[in-house]
Subunit: 385 residues, 2 copies
Amino acid sequence: MNKLGVPNDEFYMKIALRLAKKGLGFVNSNPPVGAVIVKGGNIIGKGYHTRFGALHAEREALLDAKKNGFDVSGATMYVTLEPCDHYGKTPPCTDAIIESGIKRVVIAAKDPNPVSGDGIKKLMKNGIEVKVGVLENEAKEVAKFFFKYVTTGLPYVTLKYASTLDGKIADKIANSKWITQELRSEVHKLRSIHKAVLIGAETVLKDNPMLNVRLPKRKFRNPDVVVLDENGRVLKRIISDTDKFELFNPDYQRRVIIFSSKHYQNVELPEYVKVKTPESLSVENILKELAREGIDSVLIEGGASVFSQFLPYADEIYGFYATKIFGKGKSIFQHLSIPIEESEIPFEIQKIRIAKNRKELMVVMRKCSQELSSMYVKDTSMVKG
Amino acid sequence: MNKLGVPNDEFYMKIALRLAKKGLGFVNSNPPVGAVIVKGGNIIGKGYHTRFGALHAEREALLDAKKNGFDVSGATMYVTLEPCDHYGKTPPCTDAIIESGIKRVVIAAKDPNPVSGDGIKKLMKNGIEVKVGVLENEAKEVAKFFFKYVTTGLPYVTLKYASTLDGKIADKIANSKWITQELRSEVHKLRSIHKAVLIGAETVLKDNPMLNVRLPKRKFRNPDVVVLDENGRVLKRIISDTDKFELFNPDYQRRVIIFSSKHYQNVELPEYVKVKTPESLSVENILKELAREGIDSVLIEGGASVFSQFLPYADEIYGFYATKIFGKGKSIFQHLSIPIEESEIPFEIQKIRIAKNRKELMVVMRKCSQELSSMYVKDTSMVKG
């Protein structure tokens, strides 16, 4: 709305952004995108990218208008990301827009993926009025996984720990009920939007975690599970105990990717389990391998050794603190040893939430933007699906 | 104000509470008290207890009205704590109120100190209308040090730590600049309202801290300093190096109390330094000794050993976290070893503050009230000054 209460471009873009968010967790490694078609001040079509491989938001909105009997010629389309101009899993959205007779397209953010082609140029060439940059930051935020993925060739990395006030973590994460109860649903929301979660072998063996999403009354997709099994301890155990591991429960309908330095050829694994034995098990190499698997976002769930290794690669940190104290015990990042002078991490507190019981606290920290560019390795060979 | 915008009892009591707060840090071990005299809807007198030993708020307000040429007969007095009815450092406030001709007295909270006498009864006996309980909780909050002190015979204990995200504290608290910069003024405010700060010998020797208040453009009093010097290490060092210790700098105009198991008779100490060698150096005994010295509130400033010892006695915890990580290092409460099942502390998060730089976080936690009563040892032998 502008000052006179008349809907303006931002007003409609906000609706498109809200639609885009509905795709979170279902579209990876595509971006979540929303689109709204407006004619004479009325919204005549709405759509969003619902799942990987399905129609793009623009086509969904055009179909919606058609289904409702509206003629879109002369209308304006609001879309949260630049329409694609290439043949991927679906034909170019630009073609559909041009054919439809839409006269004006308002775009929040340019598509950072060179593979997508120059949609803006194509639209303009065809006499369509294009405006770019309306709620650009908000659009980049909604599609932050995609933006990092296509500009760096690495997945977006979120590190999540649950600790006592004195920075201690539980030996078993299944027992992490002890640490956060009320804020537990925040963890499940995080899982539901990431393409994968990652844990260490120690955690699998000690804890036998499910790592699935438990959100009542909500549609979701379970994330893939990545296991860092450097010495093949999990693989070795699988030989005798496959059924005992919740990890391999087929009910969760997900992939399991195990990184190991050795592979036991005699292990018979279900088809949704993949063992990877790259030459180097460095964090960077693992992240690159994950990107190759179409994983645009990974939630690091522990334990201490994994936290310590992945901290330098984290884009976001979710710290869950409970009003508990251990004193002695396992520290969140105990495998690191950082001198005071270098202890400041390039993160800013972005959001905070106190549980209703007033005994739990969530602190969301984001890597400062100036640090991002220097950190990321440029690699724009990714393909939009 | 009531719903019609007409000032009511709460309206005037709020003003009295605001006045009371001005005494914080100056009146200990007396309570901070504020008073307002209202006649025909106008405030004709205001006062507060300005410093230990000075006039009480009620007498200040009566004097203020007189000075301004007002006749208080028939007026209403709002006072945050029940007027005293005994001869302490000043004569009973009840007498002054009765003599003044004030017709109605509104009181926020009853005085928990039996020594103060039954002021309410005395006023009523003399035909004054009395109303009790207006903003009672707020009044108890302002005078929380006093309420704990007189009902338990122990000082109010605030524990303050500054740590990294992973619960690590610095080896030197003078260096704690490294941990909190923007929120540093909150620490100085805490110091300015507590009667004393307490630190361990280790911190004195390693760190030579000033422990004074640094608040630009504000009147304040430096808190007394209590040193836990179990093995007499600080005392031993004093023999050769008195001048080298900031602790004994006379400019800070404060007492220094050293708790030790041994005393070196050949140590010549300035008159504001007191060495105490009680039979037991248990925390409870130390707190009782401090109460006997008129210390109604103590801020525990570390290090790890002191934090670990005083945690069970804390009424409030101020946790300052910075977006820093040490990995290995000294933990806040590393001298404790609490199993998971018992790790929950009876504290609730009461307040949170993020620094403007978004790199620091203050978490204020208060002991849950149900736990308080069982925790406190009843001892009402305290005397209001």
